[in-house]
Symmetry: C2
């Protein structure tokens, strides 16, 4: 089943207590596709400027990332500069330069329009709607968003929500969107606005899949060292979507499995700087980690006490 992502392709400059990078490959579509492509081919729609190290992107494509939907525009590439706190619990944006991203109008190559699994990464909800209009018959549409769009484009975002199957956001975004502090009430609010399911990412505290009558919880992988949280949420999305696209099934049970593959990819993302962690990860590694996740919450059934 074809898998398509639209999102940002950026040059990230990141400062953490453990080191820094300058103009490293980043952006939601990049993290999504380097993680996802370990499981399944990924088609990417995005934009880069004249200064983007496009050859480096293509090198990443060896695993099955199709960059032919990436527009190479005049002007500078999208750049993000951020600094994490000493405990990696919060981050400050030092600089955002939209560059060619400011006038981006995603246009799908004809061969992308039949994609069955669609992930609308965190971009302007108007653009997300524009992409959705171009995909003919998607089986599953998942979208991300962020506080900036919740504040500035809520009507567009609500129109989008009515048309997607799953909203995938982090906890602060779910709270801001719904106006509910309690994360389960926030999830309930979102379910009442369109999506049949909501995935709420909670960083070091794992992620929730909230459905009308059932909730699933996957913890974060127990890591004794975390170097760089950047991109963990997008890597999670990549693992989640690629597992579903590979298996071609969106049953409740398969969505739970996809959550675990997502969590595994998120755990790799934070272990090293930038996308580096994914260079050496194999499908065998991923499946070992998935089994470790299963052990992490495994409770052997016991007889009733009564």
């Amino acid at each position: 089943m074809t898998l398509l992502v639209v999102g940002s392709i950026a040059l990230d400059s990141i400062f953490t207590p453990f080191g820094e990078t300058a103009d490293a490959l980043g952006g939601s579509a990049v993290y999504f596709s380097v993680a996802g492509s370990i499981l399944h081919p990924v088609q990417v729609v995005g934009v880069v400027g004249h200064d983007y190290p496009y050859a480096e992107l293509e090198r990443l494509g060896g695993r099955g990332i199709d960059w032919s939907g990436v527009e190479r525009a005049e002007g500078e590439s999208f750049r993000w500069k951020g600094k994490y706190s000493y405990d990696l619990q919060s981050r400050e944006t030092l600089e955002t330069r939209l560059g060619v991203f400011a006038d981006f109008q995603p246009k799908l190559p004809p061969s992308f329009k039949s994609a069955r699994f669609l992930f609308l990464g965190n971009i302007d909800p108007q653009l997300q709607l524009g992409v959705l209009d171009q995909v003919q018959e998607p089986q599953l549409v998942v979208c991300d968003t962020m506080n900036y769009w919740i504040q500035s484009k809520k009507p567009d975002l609500l129109r989008l929500l009515a048309r997607v199957d799953v909203l995938m956001v982090n906890d602060s975004e779910a709270r801001e969107l719904s106006g509910e502090w309690n994360i389960h009430r926030a999830g309930r609010w979102i379910l009442q606005h369109g999506p049949k399911r909501v995935v709420i990412k909670q960083g070091e505290h794992g992620a929730l899949l909230i459905e009308p009558r059932r909730t699933f919880y996957v913890p974060a992988f127990p890591l004794e060292a975390v170097f760089d949280p950047t991109g963990a949420g997008d890597a999670f999305a990549g693992g989640f979507m690629a597992y579903l696209a590979r298996t071609g099934s969106v049953t409740e049970e398969n969505l739970r499995r996809a959550m675990v593959y997502g969590a595994a990819m998120g755990s790799y993302a934070v272990e090293q700087f930038g996308i580096r962690a994914f260079e050496d990860v194999t499908l065998t590694n991923v499946e070992e980690r998935v089994r470790a996740f299963q052990d992490l919450t495994h409770v052997p059934l016991a007889e009733s006490l009564q």
Copy 2:
């Protein structure tokens, strides 16, 4: 298997955004025993002042709480007054009056000295050591502590750690004790100082059981309304210990089951003010909630992708 708890018996005045109580029954030994006694009888060691509504305690004893180890001293009872933030994420202590707790020297009735399961609630580590010396042949010793003792009595606390099987603390306590921000490194540090296992409670994010080669994670129960977090950790401890005492087994697998019973009790504690939530909870209710916990993290096995 007999189960013994030593801890505080207090009068709590609590302010939350949803209401307030004044001089309500509280304290670690009370929450522990009202939760634990749903599963198994509990012997309590503690102290109250002349002004304590002892008849109310005795009324709670109907389920199998033995208060005969509670000393009734001259002077005023231990009182705690606290106020929670609007989101229940933090609390401020408005007043602590130690009263008779200041000179408390726990002394076990002869019939308590053969207890097999011992929970040393959060009191001065010197007193915890004193209780431990009085118990003849415990099968499992679990202790709690708090930042106050970590700061003021660390040498005593380290002596205690060398003699207990499990340390059960919340995440901020584990961090302060170990000097490690990362919770898994904090757990590792604790394992290197005596206990064979450490349980780290993370409030709305669940709890971890960290062992030398394995980690278990139980989430918090998904509740759309939380009224009063007071006592949730002690109720968790009561459920955990009472499950173990009832089943008489401390295997790895049974400890995981006990974590789920603990989490179930913690979830009841926060649903209403004070100990009120436990008045109507039956063993049948608890087992239903335990099954709901199992569904919350259940991932059906799938075939390998390879």
